[in-house]
């Protein structure tokens, strides 16, 4: 147990370190942030001064050492674009993405589990085939397109939901729906297939032979066993969206989350903000991964965390 925690933490640190090194290298390879940050007509002297201010004129190794030191203190410096601490921006945007993720994936889970179970009860039946086809369709529709479609239909045509932005609960509906739909599709497929697997297991027969009611056998015995892959996928989905996959949805709906900020930072070559975002994303991924392992342990007593 202790060994497990310790190894996971070490691995997490390696991941974060690896990510930051890559980001450092990559962002230093960016042509020249100075050029983009200053207006077209600015003079070479202005550029030089600006470069000096950012510390970009020093040798790379020194920049790196300083960078790592700052990182340990969660201090990435001021965003070039926003002129305020990059971490401040991240902490401002991250909750929005978490909110979007939570609502989107929560909605997917709430729908997927019953749908998947119902489909699994009669594999090959009408309900099953409709569900499977629906899921495949959900998996096939590009998110950005779906988002645009939703905007056109719900916001422009029917004017029942706002087109974009955040603020009220109604704002989150469309982005969350767009975000959750592929997740829903994947989850339904997974719940279905793992439930089919579990329902074919011997212990299900035992439970029926014990005379337990159907609902208990399916909803408790089988579902609990199917829980592990389901949890894995849910964890993955959360990780994915925190690791940048929310970009598309956030861009389409102008949702002020970390993904949108990331793409804006990339466009503006705000390397400080990029570093902060990627670092935070890596930490989130690591934390969620570790949390998932503990949840597994709760679900499946067979797993020994070593």
């Amino acid at each position: 147990m202790g060994r497990f925690i310790y190894r996971r933490l070490i691995h997490g640190l390696i991941v974060i370190l690896g990510v930051t090194v890559i980001v450092f290298v990559v962002t230093r390879m960016v042509g020249d942030p100075v050029q983009v940050m200053l207006p077209l007509e600015s003079t070479p002297e202005q550029r030089a001064a600006f470069e000096k201010k950012l510390g970009l004129d020093r040798p790379i190794p020194i920049q790196f050492v300083e960078f790592m030191g700052n990182m340990a203190r969660l201090d990435f410096g001021d965003s070039l674009w926003q002129k305020r601490p990059a971490m401040e921006i991240v902490f401002e945007k991250l909750p929005m993405t978490i909110l979007l993720t939570a609502v989107g994936i929560g909605f997917a889970c709430v729908l997927a589990i019953p749908l998947g179970i119902i489909a699994a009860l009669r594999p090959g039946g009408v309900v099953d085939r409709v569900t499977v086809f629906g899921s495949l369709l959900g998996l096939s529709v590009p998110q950005f397109w779906l988002g645009l479609l939703f905007i056109v239909v719900f916001a422009v045509q029917f004017k029942i939901l706002p087109t974009s932005g955040a603020g009220t609960p109604s704002h989150i509906l469309l982005p969350a729906l767009t975000m959750g739909l592929p997740t829903l599709a994947r989850l339904v497929m997974l719940v279905r297939s793992s439930m089919i697997d579990e329902l074919n297991r011997q212990y299900v027969k035992t439970s029926f032979a014990k005379g337990l009611p159907f609902v208990r056998v399916v909803g408790l015995h089988a579902l609990r066993n199917a829980g592990l892959p389901i949890m894995t996928l849910v964890g993955w989905e959360v990780i994915r969206s925190l690791a940048g996959y929310s970009v598309v949805v956030e861009t389409v709906f102008a949702w002020p989350g970390i993904g949108l900020t990331a793409i804006q930072a990339i466009e503006r070559e705000d390397l400080i903000l990029i570093q902060a975002i990627v670092f935070t994303a890596a930490v989130c991924v690591v934390v969620i991964n570790i949390a998932m392992d503990f949840i597994y342990k709760l679900i499946d007593p067979r797993l020994k965390l070593t």
């Binding site: 147990m1 202790g2 060994r3 497990f4 310790y6 070593t306």
Partner: protein, 334 residues
């Protein structure tokens, strides 16, 4: 050939195993994972097999039978002890040596379904050893040789053109035997070759193996988990318990006058298919279960289940000692 006693033959043993121990690393335990776990799969096992002889190796699941067989074939690292084949030590044979040895030693598997590659035709399965050892020149020779082998194990020649799924368990086991025979080995480890087969066809395989032994003078290490099956094929029988051989004797001695309490328990545990006889039988049940191989008790491994256990048993582990001609047992009290 069967039933004939080999006791007293002065021939050099074909396989000689001396004080063999095999330990496996089984991960770590403890909060910080400081404790390394070791499976004591086989400990201090000695026996030999003479040319043309079958040694039956019987024991419960996890007692180390397969590990012993695999150690001889050089497939698991030996922790202690020595293995000799035809008088030469092969304990720590290198990869190439093992490959060379595979011409003389072969393995027949327990599971007739999993031991044949589902994507290969029977002809390719059976011809594989010939090909990898470069013993056939062209496809024609392959077909000829495979046809011969198939006939040997009692399969129709056209079987070679088919895939394993077209065969029943017994037939597959024959294919497995044909593959083992392809290189004309002198020694075959048969790891529970009939355990997965139905009673009604078990005999087919056992009889086939016996016939082949007579025909080619093969030696077998025949592994099984109950005493009823090995009776027919073995000349001598070794009983394993938790990694140790507890009794090793000529066949009739094992059945007629078993010495070790475990052997006796094993014998009485096999029910006789005759209701009046079975009901009347004096049954010795030994309570409890085999010890944890991760952490076997000191002293005799059978102590926790033995009805005759004494203080000595708990302290020292008994050695295999000679009880009467052709019979050895490891027990302090009998």
């Amino acid at each position: 050939m069967t039933g004939q006693t080999l006791e007293g033959r002065s021939e050099l043993p074909l396989v000689d195993v001396r004080n063999l121990s095999v330990l496996f690393d089984a991960g770590r335990a403890g909060f910080w994972g400081r404790k390394r776990l070791t499976v004591h799969a086989v400990e201090n096992v000695s026996f030999n097999i003479r040319p043309g002889e079958t040694l039956g190796l019987v024991g419960e699941s996890g007692s180390g039978k397969s590990t012993t067989g695999r150690a001889i074939l050089g497939r698991v690292p030996v922790s202690q002890g020595h293995i000799y084949f035809q008088g030469k030590e092969i304990t720590h044979a290198g990869k190439n040596r093992v490959r060379e040895l595979s011409r003389d030693m072969q393995l027949v598997f327990q599971d007739p379904y999993a031991s044949l590659n589902p994507r290969m035709k029977i002809i390719d399965i059976v011809a594989e050893p010939l090909r990898v050892h470069g013993m056939v020149k062209n496809t024609k020779a392959v077909a000829k040789e495979v046809a011969r082998l198939l006939e040997l194990v009692g399969l129709p020649p056209d079987a070679g053109a088919r895939y394993p799924h077209a065969f029943s368990g017994g037939q597959r086991q024959r294919v497995g035997i044909a593959r083992a025979l392809a290189l004309k080995p002198r020694f075959i480890v048969a790891d529970e070759p009939v355990s997965a087969l139905d009673v009604s066809i078990r005999a087919q395989v056992v009889n086939l193996m016996q016939d082949l032994q007579a025909q080619f003078g093969l030696s077998y290490l025949f592994i099984a988990h109950d005493l009823a099956v090995v009776r027919h094929i073995s000349h001598r029988i070794a009983i394993m318990y938790a990694g140790n051989i507890v009794e090793l004797a000529e066949r009739h001695l094992i059945y007629d006058s078993p010495v070790h309490p475990y052997t006796r328990a094993l014998l009485s545990a096999v029910p006789v298919p005759d209701p009046p006889v079975q009901r009347a039988r004096q049954r010795i049940t030994c309570p409890g279960e085999p010890p944890n191989p991760l952490n076997p008790p000191s002293g005799c491994r059978f102590q926790s289940r033995c009805p005759y256990v004494t203080g000595t048993c708990r302290e020292k582990s008994p050695d295999l000692t000679r009880r009467r001609p052709g019979q050895m047992a490891a027990c302090w009290n009998c």
